[in-house]
Symmetry: C2
Subunit: 306 residues, 2 copies
């Protein structure tokens, strides 16, 4: 296929994935609907942001599709490939962050993305993506289901894919200044092109297609649990770590903000309500302490929990 | 004076300034007291963090003193001064952020800092600091008082000091991705050493000493105003901008977090409660819209408002 055929194929998948995920989340929520917001980017391209607010289950869910274009790759991006200097480029993806109301339901993030530059004579492209889970009160059964589903998504592409992309996720979603992982991980990959386009794209679809399978059963189980002010306060406090990660470390966020991306779509990942408390520590032996001790560090869940 | 005499003189001032500011804020608050928290840094030095929480006026006020030391300047820090490579260094300062409860009382930040490296044979030092004001509902009378006090602090050091450091403040506290200043500015300076030690130190003291004069009259005037849920919600929303600035742009914060500083002391600047709302815009003609239109851009307050 030609470079532009590839782009069209990926775009069609991404639009369909955004629809499918929004429909699945609306059904799980049972009350609120996504509001759609199309936007254009002055330098080329645009996107569609979808936000569900104040739902029965989801305090806020944002599912963003974007397809941005440029007429000339900046020199810094082509230092390794000088023949592509000044080439036209396109970047496209679906990115979502879900902040549930019930503190027993974990926050989650998922993303699939594709980058393409040049034409059929000389071109470069790669896929990236993944999904990760951030519980406040974690359950081994949920973490096991999450990682088993991640492993299932990877398995057709080789036995090493899950362990490698699981470890990449642990490395990427790490808050150095807190010495904590952001959550219990999942999958993360970037710059994927050495399997050839067809196989890379099939893997990206597998990751995208497994997201709802990984998340919705956990939502169903945990949203039945009753919670009170204590759990809510801990959730708001832990959401501060999400903000810290996204604004201090996340490459997509800083690249987006610095490159003149659409601020409101990039910061859709911010939680609707957050708190910080100086020097707060979880009471020893509490369920809150258990999150830190047992879940906020890289672990080989599939072998340790089974 | 010797390099180490200079350091001792600055340290004595900083400790006294921390005491004086905390006493002034406690008196203004009338209810809560600062909790003191001394800490050591594994690589050398330490500090004392002081936090006042849930006061009558201040929802949270943090006043941090730190004095950190290193045995060898990293090469990147001495590219321009190779003769100082590997020299011992010390950095010290007082830094504060105040988040009032009443949305009519502005948030504020102030900082004075001193850096010294080397010995009497070959040494380098500089001062930095400033103070800036972040209102939610702004009053021209307050902005005028704030900038007049800033000008008064600068005047003994030359007529150009206020306009230069005022403009530096506007430039530094700017959220590019929002196209907004963080607030109505004030003073900002860094790398100050070309006036000689005595005069630079006198200027730093003048800035530090004028902070309470600049802030407390505004607190007294505005804390008498009644407020409701609308004002509270706008305050929580605007606090999101404070978080965005501090985590995305502030050099002190990112340097601190990346260099293994004490996380809880660095993130004392985070507001106790914050909210984000996708694509929120102030209603046209509202007091909230007026903040954006009239106050969140660089303006020559002293000539425009008088």
């Amino acid at each position: 296929m030609s470079t532009s055929d590839n782009v069209q194929t990926v775009l069609a998948y991404l639009r369909e994935l955004q629809n499918r995920i929004c429909a699945g989340l609306e059904q799980a929520d049972g009350q609120a609907k996504f509001q759609h917001d199309s936007w254009q980017r002055a330098e080329g391209g645009g996107g569609e942001s979808r936000v569900l607010s104040n739902g029965g289950i989801f305090e806020q869910a944002g599912v963003n599709f974007s397809h941005v274009k440029g007429t000339a790759l900046p020199p810094a991006a082509t230092a390794q490939r000088p023949e592509l200097a000044g080439a036209a480029w396109e970047a496209m993806g679906v990115s979502l962050v879900i902040h549930p109301l019930n503190p027993y339901v974990p926050t989650t993030h998922a993303n699939v993305r594709f980058f393409s530059a040049g034409d059929d004579d000389k071109s470069v492209w790669w896929f990236g993506g993944g999904f990760d889970l951030t519980p406040f009160y974690a359950f081994e059964e949920d973490v096991l289901h999450w990682h088993r589903t991640a492993q299932k998504a990877c398995m057709p592409f080789g036995e090493q894919v899950y362990p490698e992309h699981k470890e990449w996720c642990d490395r990427y979603f790490f808050l150095k200044h807190r010495n904590e992982t952001r959550g219990v991980g999942g999958l993360f990959f970037d710059d994927l092109n050495d399997w050839g386009f067809e196989r890379c794209f099939a893997y990206q679809r597998s990751v995208g297609d497994h997201f709802l399978d990984a998340y919705l059963p956990i939502v169903a189980r945990r949203s039945a649990m009753t919670w009170g002010e204590r759990e809510r306060q801990f959730q708001l406090y832990r959401r501060g770590r999400y903000v810290e990660f996204n604004l201090v470390y996340d490459r997509g966020t800083s690249f987006g903000l610095q490159s003149g991306g659409r601020t409101e779509s990039i910061l859709m990942s911010m939680p609707p309500l957050v708190r910080w408390e100086y020097n707060w520590q979880p009471p020893p032996g509490s369920p809150e302490a258990r999150l830190y001790a047992d879940f906020l560090r890289p672990r080989d869940w599939l072998s340790e929990l089974t």
